[in-house]
């Protein structure tokens, strides 16, 4: 199962890595005693680990090649097959539904709170999926709209005492407006240029928030943001987490519902067409700019909604919550989950956000893990964890 060539290759790679990591893995300078310690055993370990890692890597690469050769027809992801099969679809959804319903009552507040974060990322991911996954616009400043939503709630509540439920639609509108305003000048750019400009805009919003003390207390942020009320009734802390949990579940369902409808509508198809081929798309009568702008603005709307929930959940926000890393995390969710695939993005968000929370050991190396995952996914499953599957239309075969 392992060829001689692969062993040789792995051996060379291991050697190379031993040389490469020699300075950091082996040499240790003790500046107090002024001595240099050589940890030779580390060299051995590096070699062994690299050797086997390389073997496994090559093995999977070969498997992938063989699989590609054996069946030309791509297999449909298992989740889609489950959902397409009427017999499994209902029990499958019911099981998930029941699980989601009882979750906050069975598990502790800590776990519920973590799941809320993950679900917020599901919303953000689905929103960014419209922009990146469907319309193919690489937006690296998505977090700016997230900040708009969060600050909208914090500020409107602080100054005017407006409640969560009223702010929700207002911030959605604000998100749309900001998205349109920002999209208008930058969407004339393409690909890499768009990525860089959106990255810049994302940072600008954060820097403005950090330096404009009168607006939102600068880096000190805004605290005491109230949790959502239930017809005027304010829950205690524990119940409030459960309540927010259900609000997020509701919003996620709403998002899925709308995204699903959009994906197979005139406008959703135009987004995908634009992503696949701009020139052909225009030649089919689609207004490139308008279509891009709608995707961008709609994505921003969802980010703003997510921001409101985030502010309500943490009850404290400051500009540090809206750094570039946040944008990158959301982008990872979309890319690793599966560009353009709603189910993939949901899976991506749950995996990427829950994993570091529960594997405390890797939490510090979050970005490293994301990076590694990104590479692995790109090599072995370039379409993401769960790739998108287009709608099947049925036609009566009878001819008149």
């Amino acid at each position: 199962m392992v060829t001689k060539k692969e062993i040789k290759l792995s051996f060379v790679i291991a050697l190379w890595f031993m040389v490469l990591t020699f300075p950091i893995m082996v040499i240790k300078v003790n500046t107090i005693k002024n001595i240099v310690i050589f940890r030779w055993e580390n060299l051995l370990w590096t070699g062994i680990v690299c050797f086997f890692a390389s073997l496994i890597w090559n093995y999977f690469l070969r498997m992938k090649e063989e699989k590609k050769k054996s069946d030309t027809k791509e297999d449909i992801p298992i989740v889609h097959r489950l959902l397409q099969n009427e017999k499994f679809k209902i029990p499958f959804l019911v099981a998930i539904g029941i699980f989601a319903l009882v979750y906050p009552f069975v598990f502790s507040m800590y776990h519920t709170s973590i799941l809320i974060s993950a679900l917020i990322y599901v919303m953000l991911g689905l929103g960014l999926n419209i922009v990146v996954g469907l319309a193919g616009l690489l937006d690296l400043g998505y977090v700016a709209f997230y900040a708009v939503g969060a600050y909208a709630y914090a500020l409107l509540n602080l100054h005017f005492g407006i409640s969560f439920w009223v702010v929700l639609p207002i911030s959605a509108l604000l998100g749309t407006i900001f998205g349109t305003l920002l999209g208008y000048p930058v969407l004339r750019l393409r690909g890499d240029y768009l990525a860089i400009v959106t990255l810049g805009f994302g940072e600008i919003i954060r820097i403005v928030l950090e330096n404009w003390d009168e607006l939102g207390n600068g880096p000190r942020g805004i605290g005491n943001i109230p949790a959502p009320s239930f017809f005027g009734h304010q829950f205690n802390q524990h119940n409030s987490v459960i309540y927010i949990y259900f609000i997020v579940i509701g919003l996620v369902l709403l998002t899925i519902f709308f995204v699903n409808r959009l994906e197979n509508s005139r406008i959703g198809r135009a987004w995908i067409a634009l992503r696949d081929d701009e020139i052909a798309c225009q030649a089919m009568g689609i207004d490139k700019f308008k279509t891009k702008l709608t995707a961008f603005a709609l994505g921003a709307t969802w980010a703003a909604l997510g921001g409101v929930v985030f502010a309500a959940k943490t009850s404290f926000i400051n500009p540090m919550s809206f750094t570039i890393w946040e944008s990158i995390t959301i982008l990872c969710v979309v890319v690793i989950g599966g560009m353009g695939s709603a189910i993939g993005v949901i899976a991506g968000a749950l995996v990427l956000i829950l994993l570091p929370e529960y594997l405390r050991a890797v939490a510090e190396y979050r970005m490293l893990v994301f990076g590694a995952l990104q590479v692995i996914v790109m090599v072995f499953k370039p379409e993401g964890l769960i790739r998108s599957v287009r709608k099947i239309y049925k036609f009566e075969k009878i001819k008149e």
């Binding site: 709308f258 409808r261 959009l262 509508s265 005139r266 406008i267 959703g268 198809r269 135009a270 995908i272 067409a273 992503r275 696949d276 081929d277 020139i279 052909a280 798309c281 225009q282 030649a283 089919m284 009568g285 689609i286 207004d287 490139k288 709608t294 709609l298 353009g340 998108s388 287009r390 709608k391 099947i392 239309y393 036609f395």
Partner: protein
């Protein structure tokens, strides 16, 4: 009667290169016209100029859609040109790879449909009806072109000849009065070429379409065309019926290297 496409004095400069040099071409209603010329003559550039993908350096592009007044296309964005009834295919196939065959055709319907985002999210009854109709219309187009067995296949998985036909189907979905085909037979086998020949004639006779095609397959061009325009190095060197063009000395000279193909 006015020609449905009237191009006068069209010039396109790429830096120092004159890809098109004062070209005049007009297409009559109900005609199958061909645009031929050696490689690099400027044929595709001509299509790009009239469909607004390139902005011509000089010249006039006018259309007279059946039953409508004459209008200028110069300076119009590509999507508006398509809306006005010019549809095209591409020499190097440009299908939407992430979509099924049906969806590719549905994209062609896009500019004839209205529902926007809000309607799609609420799935209003008008949106649903429109969507249903669009899907059925698209399916009918696929039936006409003979691609209905592939409806739900991904466009990229189609055989080559079928991909070329899908490009035509997609262009048809935009409800054009003039179809611009850029080397529709390129890469097809003789059987597929024959079917394409029949399809093009059928389209003209049954769909009330006029067709302007670029093609290197001389047999196809000679058998199909009512009128042939020949360009070489960006200049128009001849125009006429297949017989006239075949015997034109300038054309023979331009094609000297391709004589074997010509025969």
């Amino acid at each position: 009667m006015e020609p449905i496409l009237n191009v006068k004095n069209l010039t396109m400069n790429f830096g120092g290169l004159k890809a098109l040099d004062t070209v005049d071409i007009s297409v009559e209603k109900g005609q199958i016209a061909a645009l031929i010329g050696p490689n690099g003559a400027g044929k595709t550039t001509f299509f790009n100029c009239i469909t607004g993908i390139y902005e011509p350096s000089e010249g006039l592009v006018e259309i007279t859609p059946p039953g409508k007044p004459t209008q200028k296309l110069n300076g119009l964005k590509t999507n508006y040109v398509t809306e006005r009834g010019l549809a095209r295919t591409f020499q190097n196939i440009r299908l939407f790879e992430g979509m099924t065959v049906l969806e590719n055709v549905l994209i062609g319907r896009h500019c004839r449909l209205k529902s926007g985002i809000i309607k799609a999210m609420l799935r209003s009854s008008s949106q649903k009806n429109e969507e249903r109709k669009a899907v059925n219309d698209s399916y009918e187009i696929l039936e006409k072109i003979g691609l209905n067995q592939y409806v739900n296949e991904m466009a990229v998985n189609l055989p080559y000849g079928a991909q070329r036909r899908l490009e035509i189907a997609r262009a048809l979905a935009t409800d054009p009065f003039l179809l611009l085909l850029d080397e529709p037979a390129a890469g097809m086998n003789p059987q597929e070429t024959k079917e394409l020949d029949d399809l093009i004639v059928w389209l003209r006779d049954n769909e009330d379409l006029s067709i302007l095609l670029i093609e290197h397959d001389m047999k196809l061009v000679m058998s199909l065309s009512d009128n042939i325009h020949v360009v070489d190095y960006g200049k128009k060197i001849a125009e006429g019926t297949p017989e006239e063009v075949k015997s034109n000395p300038d054309v023979i000279k331009a094609y000297l290297g391709d004589e074997s193909e010509d025969a």
